[in-house]
């Protein structure tokens, strides 16, 4: 069956120290992450921060794609000129989506360099990026929970984990990771999840909403009420609510206007146009 494209945070992927090598022909190799993801194919959406030509022959490019937890290093190589071309045409920074294979380079025992070899590259959008973060968080949380459950078992087997409702590919990977990694720091990954999620929740406020209309209304209200001393914050709020604006929105937009330098507080609790 076709390998699923894991949505995996750079931090977890880059932390990996073990590779499950192909035992037979036509079976893939996997990167085994500390939380038990068995990654062969992956799907990455993030911010393209850098792209460079490497090597002398043919098209070979190395891109860096940032997610909320770290950097994915992505190679686009000669045999896939399309992906390389798409990456080169993108602006820096911009949102990029990559489907690729785990690229494993192990020059000597214990020295593991992990990156991704691009199969498909596309320009992406903030919506797709947010969706990706959500999917990556969901998957990470599932593995964290499975890992915690497995750690509570005296001799965890995939079957026991499956009986708790985990999908078999999670149950197998988690059991294997538990054998191969001596200490798995779950707290770190939980913290990382919180950070990734706050990326979405905070960004939602700043970027998702366009407050142009509200800004105009508030500038107008302040202009009407400011007089010499400045308009009272509460009076502005009252008027804004009267005109159909939610109190929280009003507060947020005032802060935005102050940040933009269009409104200032001559004294605490009063607002004036600049």
């Amino acid at each position: 069956m076709r390998e699923p494209a894991w949505r995996i945070f750079a931090a977890e992927y880059n932390d990996s120290q073990h590779v499950l090598k192909a035992t037979e022909e036509k079976t893939p190799s996997y990167v085994l992450t500390p939380l038990g993801a068995k990654v062969n194919r992956m799907f990455i959406v993030g911010v393209l921060t850098d792209i460079e030509d490497i090597g002398t022959e043919g098209i070979r490019r190395r891109a860096r794609i940032s997610d909320p937890t770290g950097i994915h290093v992505v190679y686009a190589e000669t045999f896939n000129p399309e992906a390389a071309g798409v990456l080169s045409d993108m602006e820096i920074p911009s949102y990029a989506a990559i489907v690729g294979k785990a690229r494993i380079y192990e020059p000597e025992e214990g020295m593991l360099y992990l990156s991704t070899r691009a199969e498909v590259a596309r320009k992406s959008t903030i919506d797709t990026r947010n969706q990706w973060i959500i999917e990556a968080c969901r998957g990470t949380l599932l593995r964290i929970n499975a890992m915690k459950d497995a750690m509570n078992m005296s001799n965890p087997t995939p079957r026991q984990l499956r009986e708790l409702g985990y999908p078999s590919f999670i149950a197998e990977g988690v059991t294997e990771a538990l054998k191969m990694y001596s200490d798995i720091d779950i707290d770190t990954y939980e913290e990382l999840l919180r950070e990734a999620l706050s990326f979405i929740t905070s960004e939602e406020k700043e970027m998702k909403k366009d407050y142009a209309a509200e800004e105009g209304t508030l500038l107008q209200i302040i202009g009407e009420l400011e007089g010499e001393e400045g308009a009272l914050w509460d009076a502005v709020a009252e008027e804004a609510v009267k005109r159909g604006m939610a109190r929280e929105v009003m507060e947020e937009v005032i802060i935005l206007l102050m940040e933009k330098g269009m409104v200032y507080e001559p004294q605490l609790g009063k607002l004036k146009l600049v």
Binding site: R2, P4, V99, V120, C137, R194
Partner: protein, 416 residues
């Protein structure tokens, strides 16, 4: 302790032809090396050409050799597997005795039939999923016995319909009969009535067939114990008969749609009316404008149909894509109607564009532009083929998530 050893020696002498002194010496040597008495006893028996004891299935652990058992074949199916590039036909299934039921794999055709009671000599056990699995090799012997065994009754495995997989037996499910039709079939020389249709629970739908008249009606909510699942026309089918128990329930089943993660659709090896979500991560090459044979509707190449020869092709628009949700991947085929909806242009418009550009490729390029890396919600029937499951989409729409809500939900699970 000494008496245990004496007893073991007596037993060995009863099973093989050897003198007491040597047997005692051999046995004590094994014990000296820390081999448990039971195993030491069997080792000595084997050494003198005896047949190792018939064991009870419940005592078999993974990684044992020279296992002898008497068991009843409960299920058996033929499978083709590839081992080191060589195709081999194996038989696998379940066998049981009074103490346990175990899965088995036969690497040679012993002509095992469901219901056979057999003595198996020189089998080994492997570990599968933390459980022992009996393995019959070329060096194993199988002898059919003329007696019956009443294998241990396993409690049926309770499963939601979405988790039913071909090959499962003795399952318990609960669901609502959505449709039913009755027909007569001839099995051997016997006329039988079969009742089949679709049933559903909160997790999904499945085709069923009942080989006994349970006087079921559409709308009935029932509990079935002791059903099994087979593969029929590429999808799992729930089968139950007079050996199963069917109970009508006085409760409601909310048949609502559950979005299935793709690994479930892959594992189920096909299904009816499934709902799923995933991102388009590949557009297959033969997406776009294609030509079909006016007679057989097959896709034709360069004006030639494999079946009907040279024909005047009829234009059609379709998209073949791979969708993936991080847990699994399936091929999806969008027919003309859905393709037009997803792309926002009609076949006629695309034909005009293609003629203008004098290249049908432009349509493929536009599909890539519009759909690649786009998350979709899709409903349809899934059918397995060699290496991938194909989902024939009936409905499809771009997926819109409320990220903030989703993020809050994950945060609360994280803290919970």
């Amino acid at each position: 302790m000494e008496t245990d050893v004496e007893k073991a020696i007596d037993e060995i002498l009863g099973r093989v032809d050897a003198d007491r002194e040597t047997v005692e010496k051999d046995l004590k040597k094994f014990i000296e090396y820390g081999v448990p008495l039971d195993q030491a006893k069997e080792a000595v028996v084997t050494k003198y050409g005896g047949v190792a004891h018939e064991r009870q299935l419940k005592d078999i652990t993974p990684h044992e050799r020279n296992i002898n058992v008497v068991a009843k074949i409960l299920t058996v199916e033929e499978r083709e597997v590839t081992v080191r590039d060589t195709k081999r036909t194996i038989h696998r299934g379940l066998l049981g005795d009074e103490t346990a039921v175990l899965p088995f794999t036969a690497w040679k055709d012993f002509n095992l039939q469901k219901g056979d009671v057999v003595r198996i000599k020189n089998a080994s056990s492997s570990e599968w999923d933390g459980q022992p699995r009996l393995s019959l090799s070329e060096w194993s012997e199988v002898e059919k016995l003329d007696r019956d065994i009443e294998p241990v009754q396993r409690t049926p495995q309770k499963l939601p319909l979405a988790d039913l997989r071909p090959g499962l037996s003795n399952v318990e499910v609960r669901g609502k009969i959505l449709s039913m039709e009755e027909r007569e079939v001839t099995v051997g020389d016997v006329q039988k009535r079969v009742f089949s249709g679709i049933m559903a629970d909160e997790t999904g739908k499945i085709r069923y067939s009942a080989w006994h008249d349970f006087s079921l009606h559409e709308g009935d909510v029932i509990r079935i114990r002791g059903a099994y699942v087979r593969k029929w026309r590429g999808a799992p089918q729930l089968v139950f008969d007079e050996k199963s128990t069917v109970e009508k329930l006085d409760e409601a089943v909310a048949v609502r749609d559950m979005v299935l993660p793709l690994y479930k659709i892959v594992e189920a090896e096909g299904g009816v009316d499934v709902l799923t979500q995933g991102t388009v991560i590949e557009i297959r090459k033969d997406s776009g404008i294609i030509f079909r044979c006016p007679r057989c509707n097959r896709k034709i190449r360069d004006g030639v149909c494999e079946e009907d020869g040279e024909v005047q092709g009829v234009e059609d628009l379709r998209i073949k894509a791979v969708i993936d949700d991080g847990t699994g991947a399936v091929d999806v085929i969008f027919n003309r109607e859905l393709s037009e909806k997803l792309l926002g242009k009609t076949l006629e418009e695309y034909l005009a564009i293609a003629r203008e550009a004098m290249d049908y490729e432009v349509v493929h390029d536009e599909i890539v532009d519009r759909l690649l890396m786009v998350p979709l919600q899709i409903r349809g029937d899934s059918i397995p083929s060699d290496f991938i499951i194909t989902l024939f989409a009936r409905e499809a729409e771009p997926l819109q998530l409320d990220y903030k809500k989703e993020a809050d939900e994950i945060l609360s699970q994280l803290e919970g």
